[in-house]
Chain length 176, copies 2
């Protein structure tokens, strides 16, 4: 099995390759279950935070510990969009994700209480991996619809040629 | 609107009340988007970790930053069960959650690579809130099926009378 080795700070991980759509092997990044790797990535991403950023916006699930760490270390609060409606949401913003690579439509849900936190703020969109950029575009719409102003895009890894002006630590191969 | 105030360490939060099943108002705990509250809870939970615990097991989504913090502070690694099949999973364990309060059946998925990490280990099940205990029981089955040994149950909050031998920081009211 092919693997792809990444080193961030003092931490090295051998990423396993996984099959996507039965056609190509891609390296799998997992921050869930790996607090050491998560902390190394968060630390390395801090200098890439756009100056003037007042709040971070991310989406469940894989980026959650990473964005928690970035928020903690930078002192910048964060907001999380969900991929399912939660029964407790009040006046949520509902945003379709443009389908590019997956062929499935996803929907993002942002609780109205959290949308209010973005209003009038400079918002940095933070993700673990940006591939097609579909989720990033949906998050951008949520920033606009919340009355926030986009500060930029930040990810640990870029995988493929997203047209977004993305800051990231490392490029991942699209196939292994 | 009723609220419920909790204080953990130096951090106080006014939990909003949300409607569940159109019948009762319950306090809503959100660790997502609140790194300060997350860190306070993780710190307070450290003394409640069962001695001899070798690995932590949790389930997506709300507990993720919390368990990341507990893992980081305790030096004990953690594993995450998912609620959806991921295309990259290899030989996953599939476990139904006994339906108690929700009336919907949920299924947990544990990637085979992560199940292996539990094998032969003393596993502590960690959650943000334990109400009916259904998820905790499904996680218990995943520990057994992975060849691990249950070390115990730990949560930030208990809500209701779960029969589990649960260690927790605080009791939450079942209705407001």
């Amino acid at each position: 099995m092919n693997t792809h080795t990444v080193t961030i700070g003092q931490v090295t991980r051998e990423l396993p390759s996984v099959l996507v759509g039965n056609v190509r092997q891609v390296p799998l990044v997992e921050f869930l279950g790996d607090s050491e790797f998560t902390k190394a990535a968060a630390e390395a991403m801090l200098p890439l935070i756009d100056p003037g950023t007042e709040i971070l916006l991310t989406v469940v699930t894989n980026a959650l510990p990473l964005v928690h760490e970035i928020s903690d270390r930078s002192g910048i609060p964060y907001v999380v969009a969900r991929k399912k409606r939660r029964t407790y949401m009040h006046a949520p913003l509902i945003q379709e994700v443009p389908s590019m690579s997956l062929g499935v439509n996803e929907t993002l849900w942002l609780d109205g209480r959290h949308a209010e936190r973005l209003s009038g703020k400079r918002v940095l969109i933070v993700q673990d991996v940006v591939a097609s950029g579909g989720s990033a575009l949906a998050l951008t719409r949520l920033v606009e619809r919340s009355g926030g102003e986009l500060a930029g895009y930040l990810a640990a890894f870029r995988q493929g040629e997203s047209p977004l002006p993305l800051k990231y630590l490392q490029e991942l191969p699209k196939s292994l």
